[in-house]
Amino acid sequence: MSSSAASQGRVSALGLLLNNRLATAGLVVLVTILLLALIAPLLPLLDPNATSPANRLLPPLSDGHLLGTDALGRDLLSRLLHGARVSIAVGVSATLIAAFFGSLIGLLSGYARGWADSLMMRGIDMLMAFPYILLALAIVAVLGPGLINALYAIALINIPFFARNIRGVTLGLARREFIDAARLSGKSRAAILFTEILPNVLPIIVITMSTTIGWMILETAGLSFLGLGAQPPQADLGSMLGDGRSVLFNAPHVAIIPGVLIFLLVMSINLLGDGIRDVLDPRLKSGALARPMARTAVERESVPEKPATAKDAVLSLSGLRTAFGLGQRQIEAISGIDLHIGRQECLGLVGESGSGKSITAMSIMGLVPTPPGRIVGGSIYFQGEDLLEANDRRIRELRGGPVSHVFQDPLTTLHPLFTVGDQLVEAIRAHQPLRRPQAEKKAEELLELVRIPNPRRRLQAYPHELSGGMRQRVCIAMALANDAELIIADEPTTALDVTVQAQILMLMNKLRHEKETSILFITHDFGVISALSDRVAVMYAGQIVESGPTKEVLESPAHPYTRKLIDCVPVLGQGDRQLDAIEGGPPATGERPPGCAFAPRCAFARDACKRGEIALQPLDAEREVRCLFPLDVKREALVHA
């Protein structure tokens, strides 16, 4: 690993952390407290333990005692800073001890599995079976009161927390394929544990530490408050709180001052901890600070006029542009998409991963998360209604009603904790004023419609009890629940087996005729297009490069990219043929070359292709292509006429 790359990584991680305002505030407060505590012995403070009965219970801002004095006349400021030192030191040490032993147990137990795992986990379970603080009390009772013993107690009761967390993560990692790959690369089990798994667990350990250290400080304070931790005259925050209790009414500041510091300390550590967690593990992000809006923001410079096609079409996109803001930069994921879907029509949208198919689909119902996504141009009309101007309530009505989605992974639609029946009923009742029994009957009919055997019983099933194909059928049933006019199906069969895929395609084709539904069908595979689509639109690097009737496009593609996409599909019975692969990959989003985006991979590219924007031009009444030199020679004459 090059160290420059590593340090760059760290700098940007810090940058990310500082981007989070609460975490930064936490960091500032924490650093201030830490610094003060650290340099406390160097500061011109009074002796924290020197009593002075004459000066007892002086209020804050008294002469010589900035924060006043306690019941024995000791200077509160001095005690506070020295106390904070002790509390922090104990909290940090306890965290380190708990993290070390807990993580070690978690790692070993998660990786060993079998009886070793059972043994360690039963031990951990036993520790956890006792009420938390009671256990700490018991331990201190056995060891005798004192700061060090309190430290051991706190560390010990926190070991299970680390062990469980780390074991869970390790278990998940140990099943990952890179572990097998490391074994096949010749690594021993110990090497795998410490060089393959540990680096992946480390961020979790740090996260767990940063989120528990605050509690450990609190717990230490708790023990000291009860007189079991720091012993007089030594000050720590908990014992100061305890001292303040007896004079709470005539001199509340004695208790309030250490209380406030504990609060500040724990709060700042937790804020910082959350920030660290968000930076290290974006998946765990609480999202409280950057929750995406319920609908994609629309920031068009101008509102285009309603296109003529929008009147008859079920769906009409014109010039649609959706962009992502990355810092100051704005990157267009799709630039100027025109699509029209007629009644009962199925339009296939084909292209490689990353070409913008899903962004196009998600823009329609405002499902692109904002931030960072925004619709920055164009228009979307659904049955003549301007969706970009519609209010949120109307969009909610449309979603799952007249316009519904089927996604690649059924589990993104289905909630794991509710039965299929409950979810269908919920979907129906969100849009129709039906009572539960009626809705249940309808749900059963829907499952029958998508040919799920024994529908009544399947209503009681949870998603995980169904096979992938059955789950996708349930999703289609859900999409049909409220008589959808338009179904947006984003790679609905990509994750399925060939036989199941064939059935789902047949089913969708049948249902669309029965129910007179229009479909926007998205796929990367030209092989599945003809099963369903009347027309296709081919997407490349955020633009439509060709569109037309499926049969014609398949028989005589005009764009070189379309030709390649068709040719790279392996076809049964042509096994001897060398597959026609498209070398290289599509340009990264936002790095579209000038001129034709496909030029770097195109065998027919000439100089003219690399200059200026190339428009989508009509080939004939039904076909359009974005290419200066379309493949069909007869048509080429037409374009340049």
Partner: protein
Amino acid sequence: MHEQTEPMLQAQDVERLFGAGRTLLGRPKPAVHAVQGVSFAVRKGEILGIVGESGCGKSTLARILAGLDQASAGKVLFQGQDLAAAVRRDFKAVARQIQYVFQDPLSSLNPRKTVRAILETPLRRLLGLGREERERRLQKVIDAVNLRPEHLDRYPHEFSGGQAQRIAIARALAAEPKLIVLDEPVSALDVSVQAQVLNLLDDLKARFGLTYLFISHDLAVVETISDRVAVMYFGRLAEIGPAQRIFTQPRHHYTRLLLDSAPAPGKAIMVPESESGELPDPYNPPVGCAFAARCPAADELCRTRHPALEPAGAPKHLAACYHPPVGSTAHE
């Protein structure tokens, strides 16, 4: 061609049982036969394709054949030696000969290791190469899979699926194994990228004289690359034979269904309406042919007795079906 040579890999009645044994309280745990009675041989330089739908036992079989898992019964012979014994003796020695490429390229690469660290491990741990020799081999390997030297210092997540799979292939290739087990190596990839990887695999096989076991749920993919094909259904072999023959004259109704379901540009898909696509319950397996519930030709015999794998009218073509489909398909 290689009639006389001893097979490189031989599976003899391989069986894998999951979940058997007893709970802590002594109650027997329900057992699932993931793989049952699988026998075949792979010659040096051959590509055997294994097709079947998810859950039919392909990965389980593949892991056993690569020494990552042990058969509950039956035997795997690698170059005439018992593989399970060899694994117990020295796993590294086996890993020098047999390598594995996983389905999901990103999950088979440690996210916290650079490509260099990932590719150097087998060179160091399996071959014990010194620094210079390692560097030389590294260059050779990444060159073979069309990666560039500057890719070496990047992390897996910086690559697209196709590139990541090429890294995974490079890792498997690094120790110069004789046999590579490829478990759905292109299933997670786009069709366009899939073609790149398939062509690369073809090329590598020729250049390094490799033998492949190529697993996929997609018949068309298997056909483009395999010399012979084994069709698996519910943990058993339904049919095995020369690729050409399987695709033109399938002798098992499941193979037939697979052929009919395969999509292709311009092809309308026609599978029977009654076809449910559901596998039998593994905890309650059918007595007879596992495909009977979905088979148009099933009769009493099929439902009561399990059909054995028997010669199906052409050399080296075996099928386990009482009433095989007749005639040839349109896939010629």
